[in-house]
Symmetry: C2
Subunit: 109 residues, 2 copies
């Protein structure tokens, strides 16, 4: 979209669209966080699949998993508190997976 405006408008438009060092750093952080979250969340999926397929969860400690899930829930609250999209996304997905494992543990054993 081409904006036909006076010089003042041009200036503002440039300021808005020029990536500042600060913005670039924020974008890089966000990207690193999203890759980090993808890796730690994806590495958790095989456990979920294994438990689902084997219909067995006797080697999984319910206490440890409840502790882990509470921790993930608090990470989610922390992520919302500091407005960190990577922390929110990663922990929301991990929480769903962790609750899934707890439900399987309670159902299958």
């Amino acid at each position: 979209m081409i904006e036909r405006s006076n010089q003042g408008g041009e200036q503002r438009r440039l300021e808005q669209h020029t990536p500042t060092k600060h913005n670039k750093t924020m974008e890089n952080n966000e990207l690193i966080g999203l890759v980090a979250g993808t890796l730690t969340t994806v590495s958790f999926v095989p456990q979920v699949l294994k438990t689902w397929k084997s219909r067995s969860a006797k080697d999984i400690s319910l206490g440890m998993f409840l502790m882990f899930s509470l921790g993930v829930a608090l990470w989610l609250i922390y992520g919302i508190g500091i407005s960190s999209m990577p922390v929110i996304l990663a922990n929301a997905i991990t929480l769903v997976l962790a609750i899934g494992i707890i439900l399987m543990k309670v159902t299958f054993k």
Copy 2:
């Protein structure tokens, strides 16, 4: 826009020196993050101890653990980038534990 009245100046000065709601929220976030990190990190310790005691890590997938460790390393970099003490602490400790498991996996198998 910028207010140039005397009242505006007083207002700003007061806002700077009074402990604000914003600071309290930041402290609460930090606390929630530290509890979250303690729970998720502590729930990881039994795996390390189990592997150490049994001298066996055949059920642990090296690929998954390398992926997880890389993710944790990136979370650590992310934590440094956004200056989040809970993210830095939790992932620094988890990274040490995860590298410990990888070393055991490579040594014991």
